[in-house]
Symmetry: C2
Subunit: 253 residues, 2 copies
Amino acid sequence: MGTTQLETVPEPKYWHLKTVLSEALDSEFSVGEILPNERELAARFGVARATLRQALEQLELEGRLQRRRGVGTTVAPPRVGVAVDPAHHTWPGAPGDDWQPVDAVASRNVPAAVARLLELTPGEQVHVVHRSRVTHGQPVAAEQLYVPARCVPEAEAAVGAAVDAPARARTVLRELQQLELEGQDRAVELGSARADDAKELDRLPGAPVLVVTTRYFAGGRTAAVALSTYRADTCRLTFGDNETDTGVTVLAS
Amino acid sequence: MGTTQLETVPEPKYWHLKTVLSEALDSEFSVGEILPNERELAARFGVARATLRQALEQLELEGRLQRRRGVGTTVAPPRVGVAVDPAHHTWPGAPGDDWQPVDAVASRNVPAAVARLLELTPGEQVHVVHRSRVTHGQPVAAEQLYVPARCVPEAEAAVGAAVDAPARARTVLRELQQLELEGQDRAVELGSARADDAKELDRLPGAPVLVVTTRYFAGGRTAAVALSTYRADTCRLTFGDNETDTGVTVLAS
DNA sequence: TAGTGGTCTAGACCACCCG
DNA sequence: GGGTGGTCTAGACCACTAA
């Protein structure tokens, strides 16, 4: 009776740790504040560092913490809402979109899934436009836009010419915009960042990302496919009528 | 010259392992096939079990593998496309939606973020409708729908009455559908499964999930908020005009 | 150069599933 | 009861950052 309650269903230590830390973050820390280092936190809670790290990893996944090698662990700001829905159904690069053209290259070697979506014949040439998206001064997404060469026949010469990289990208986008857009399609799924995307997003390879696959339809078929890779820790993707950013983050924990 | 190339930029072992395993999955395994157990795989690759597990975790995150305690690790089927966009902008529970009502309860204690979205006064009563979504016989999502009691004044008596649980849920939904829907709003972010959602989704607590926050507008304000929790390993959320499920999965790795 | 998080090891024990 | 994945430990070394 007077004894402390027994753990009838002992939850894992890291799970309990996560709860404790989460409450501490709410009450005792403010955004940007730096936490004690992992060795100290582990000692303070009386667990091995690996166990402590398991809790920190989950909190980082939920966007509560930010960890940087050589620097430390800080309290993350609320996730930023990023509009992904077609504000107006238009081509990439149209006025008002938030992406920066980076480069464009011609390639005959694209991911198998993209080749399927574009119904490419094996070895068919494709222009790959690389763009990046920045919000509040922070990189939030990297994108590869795949456009079959047959859809933008005049782009090839321009891409091969010795203009600077962003100009090459804009050339492809400009020609794409000449086509009549008949519709678009989106899917969101969880992935892990490729090495090059990770570098661009200022994360380590394998970091969790939200991958948005956009299909653009023109001429009765898929005229372009975009693979957009968003930082899952810092981004909330918004869709729908009301794109007012309330700055409110909702987590499932 | 004749030597094997040096690792100028030695990538982590688990990263290399992931690549090797991923290629093996493509070429030597078929969906549903069971892999050797972790101790054997670790021995085979000459690494510690923890390192091997780090690779497996990433592959599971990407939807390539499925691991079950007491059973083993199997090759996962391609992610299933789940339509999340408003096919037609309608209330939850309207004909044609894919959710099963489970229960409804009255509560005065809702997540802070939901309270903000609903502009609740402290302690204001809310009906919480619990629903679940099943596709291809597998549970893919769990949902909590929060409706301020003032928006559905007649539901209270019915929820209190001794009808069965799904009927309680349907009562709230029916009254909600009487209101005129003025619009909706969605956001997608990464989260980790709460213990109860995890159980319903047949996963362990903390499993990665895609959290969809939907706001329903009526009477000039937010009349309901839904928090839908989708299994991130098995689901691809689809939005947009063309909801034809091509069954194609695109990953960022 | 000192301090941080990231990777890795070689064990141990536990919770769960199935025959 | 035997085998699986899940949790946990107590170390070690490495890569990176900033003073």
